[in-house]
Amino acid sequence: MTLSRPARLALLAALLLGLAAVYLPLMVVLINSFNKDATFAWPPQEFTTMWWDRAIDNEGARSAIWTSVQAGLLATVIALTLGTLAAFALQRYRFFGRDAVSLLVILPIALPGIVTGIALNNAFRTILGIDLGFITLVIAHATFCIVVVFNNVIARLRRLGGSLEEASMDLGADTFTTFRLVTFPMLRSALLAGGLLAFALSFDEIIVTTFTAGAEVQTLPIWIFNNLFRPNQAPIVNVVGSALIVLSVVPIYLAQRLSGETSGGRI
């Protein structure tokens, strides 16, 4: 079906309008980070870099970023290990309850974040009697990060099949050598992509974090949320938001370099 010229133009207009709507709010945050007026009257009358200077010196924001990076890295390492193990088990073996396991892996992200959040909160506090803190935060984040690693690795394993590994074994390599020289190199980019997604997911998470981090630990999203409603902090929050918007280009760039293909969203 060849579309008529007006129909094509109408579709193009819809696409451009849609993209404009997607990027306009992000642009507004970026521009407002230079807006001299602390209440962000629009359009901005005067520009300044004062807010960026203040944000860089902001102790709360800096320590929150550091907490988020640490938690994200630890959760990613755990998720990489567990997600890869689960993917191997499900792809290479047929066993009773296999479907149940694959459902179980997806569950933490399929259920609303608030359900996972209060379930873990309840388990930590009343069942296990652990005080909420950094450790419980990492455990919670790892739980919902497993699925993204799992999805990436199992997709790769499916595509590869087992013939190369069989060839390696036939040629006399033991299991470990085969993994080191054959399986791992073929999985590397899938692991990197999965790890990247897991870290991004953890870095941005707020709902599960609210229920599992306790009062002492402040991740970056928690810090942003706590300062969002304070008028005198608004310009600093705006600068932190701008920095995050600019940084969001990095994973997209890496993902393009890694896979040469566009990954299908965050899940």
Binding site: M1, L11, A14, A86, Y93, L107, P112, N238
Partner: protein, 273 residues
């Protein structure tokens, strides 16, 4: 033997720790909290569910939450379909790739920053006021309308990508066959494209609907004093310190989601996720 080795660690983590936590939460929904101390009283009762079903305020909040989630889904579908259609069927392959990246990039920008961006947009004298002022319209202020716009904005890529993938799979030859057989474009759209792309739209709606059901942060940022299901759960964990009631409340979005999944299962949407 090797299978046991592979599965034991993930199984211990997810199977034992996570599943047990979920089960414990569900069990707690049948307990009550002491109204003075907030301690959980472990005696079986259906009081929490009775309160949920009989008190008007919870019914109102449930209906409001479902309406918001449905509206967000409809708005997203209407905006996403033409965008996805252009990407899949009109754009050249290189432009296609670029457009997918353009749609994906905002997903990596922080959720909170995007919700915050709309708080700024909707503020008095903000961008919305400035844009629509010349037409005699102003910002609707912080409320349900702002919440729906913000949620629709947040989940839009989750709708575009499945529809794009679905339309991309739809062979051009089918569309040509339809027009060769004399169908006008509107008829081809109605009888060929729409039925075949429908599962993809439903697949997208699973994301937009479930994500909207569980959200309580966006409504806090742009929703004024309005409450959704998630806010009630949150308040019962925090200020009210009534975990059993929060647990009972949290089963509502899960049950709604299960019903929704059961309904859309027949469209074949789950296979196109």
């Amino acid at each position: 033997m090797r299978l046991v080795g592979l599965l034991s660690a993930p199984f211990f983590w997810l199977g034992i720790a996570y599943l047990a936590a979920l089960a414990a939460l569900f069990v707690a929904a049948f307990w009550t909290a002491d109204s003075f101390t907030g301690d959980v009283v472990r005696s079986w009762t259906l009081d929490n569910f009775r309160t949920l079903l009989t008190e008007d305020v919870y019914r109102t909040i449930t209906i409001r939450t479902i309406s918001v989630a449905l509206l967000v889904t409809v708005v997203d579908a209407i905006i996403a379909f033409p965008m996805a259609y252009y990407m899949a069927k009109v754009a050249s392959p290189s432009l296609q790739k670029l457009l997918v990246i353009a749609v994906l990039t905002p997903l990596w920008a922080s959720y909170l920053v995007k919700a915050y961006a709309w708080r700024i947009m909707f503020s008095d004298g903000g961008v919305v006021d400035w844009m629509f002022g010349p037409f005699g319209l102003g910002t609707p202020g912080y409320g349900l309308a702002a919440t729906i716009v913000t949620l629709a904005y947040l989940w839009l890529p989750f709708m575009i990508l499945p529809i794009y993938a679905g339309l991309d799979r739809l062979p051009d030859s089918l569309l040509e066959a339809s027009s060769d057989l004399g169908a006008k474009p509107t008829m081809t759209f109605r009888t060929v494209i729409l039925p075949m792309a429908f599962p993809a739209v439903i697949a997208g709606s699973i994301f937009t609907f479930s994500l909207s059901l569980g959200d309580y942060i966006a409504v806090k940022i742009v929703g004024g004093t309005n409450q959704l299901l998630g806010n009630v759960v949150y308040n019962n964990i925090g200020a009210a310190n009534n975990l059993p009631f929060a647990a009972a409340m949290a089963t509502i979005p899960v049950v709604i989601m299960l019903i929704y999944l059961a309904v859309v299962r027949r469209t074949g949407a789950l296979e196109s996720l």
